[in-house]
Point group: C2
Chain length 217, copies 2
């Protein structure tokens, strides 16, 4: 962890470390996942192995979802042909960095997630039929829980000592037609993954203050 | 961290620990946030202080969002009157545990998040007007990024050595009318927070296998 952290921008003492004693998670882990972790825009050439991706998934899968529905599906875009097809659907500003990243993953949500509920939520046998009968409920639950799992995946990439570059700038209809024409999968995000390269990080944008976000009733 | 982990169910050696050498995050932190952390259904009486909530937010706020838009808003339901109003909107199965939890938070998304973009995304001054002019884009971005931030918040609760009990079983229209009649906030989840109590954990439900979720193109 040390080497990766040493290469991240930011000074620990500036980053709310006065609240450290309120948390059980170590300051190093807080930095790796949240405080000093950053969205990367360039990457080195170092490949990302399938074994690494497996470890990332095997960590991220434990994050909670409603009724354990786990709608996230992941496409690793490994072949040059698939990479080209993907890049064509991206916004201009995302094309070059995605063409060059060591690994690109499409994070999608399966709107037919309910077909797996007999496995994932076995103690409530009516769950599958409840979602099958209500398209609006199924879509809402898919999008909420798919996004939760996108977040777990991004943090698990960081847990693996890698940087993530999540993007939502693409033509979603074109991307879905190119990759998911035969399924009910819909893209939620595209993520570049690898070791951060030169100039990977933009200046950090400000976060909202506690009092702008949290109120008491 | 040790005491909290000791009280969580699960045997480390069963939990994919053969992949530990692929990750930089320590096994203890993996357990605290993902592997042995569990959704809790009962809690002790121990209060959750405002200082603890501040530390949770100050960690969670660093998680990435599209264009740094940070649409999550959090209501700490502290007063008995507000707790009663909230409980009335919940599904039957969620009422008793929410009435008894030491802290309950409503996690909502602000559909007027774009009003804060001049602060949070200052280098792209057209961002605010772009979202103001496109309700569909604004709603989609709010829901996706609000859900990402729900996930960051849940993991930050765990980072604080507390258990979270997220719920989506409620009458959303009634909840929004009761708490957000004067704003563009919409509930995404309700979360009970505290130290896990007796019988807090149900049997762990299965996760999807790697090969059910990840494909290569």
């Amino acid at each position: 962890m040390t080497t990766f952290l040493q290469n991240l921008p930011g000074d620990l003492t500036d980053l709310d470390s006065q609240l450290d004693d309120q948390l059980d998670l170590s300051p190093q882990a807080q930095d790796l996942l949240f405080r000093r972790a950053r969205t990367a825009n360039t990457f080195t050439d170092e490949p990302v192995s399938d074994e690494k991706v497996r470890a990332i998934y095997v960590l991220a899968k434990w994050g909670p979802t409603s009724m354990n529905n786990q709608p996230l599906r992941i496409v690793l875009v490994r072949s040059p042909a698939a990479r080209n097809r993907l890049v064509r659907t991206l916004s201009e500003g995302n094309k070059a960095k995605t063409a060059a990243a060591p690994l690109v993953a499409i994070l999608a949500v399966d709107h037919a997630f309910h077909e797996k509920l007999p496995k994932t939520f076995p103690h409530f046998t009516a769950a599958r039929d409840m979602f099958a009968a209500n398209d609006a409920l199924r879509e809402q639950s898919a999008n909420l829980n798919g996004a939760l799992q996108v977040a777990y995946f991004l943090l698990a990439v960081r847990a693996a000592g890698l940087a993530a570059g999540p993007m939502t700038g693409y033509d979603a209809d074109a991307l879905n037609a190119s990759f998911f024409a035969d399924s009910q999968h819909k893209v939620l995000a595209v993520v570049n993954i690898g070791k951060p390269g030169p100039g990977a990080y933009r200046e950090r944008a400000p976060r909202l203050d506690f009092d702008e976000v949290v109120t008491t009733a």
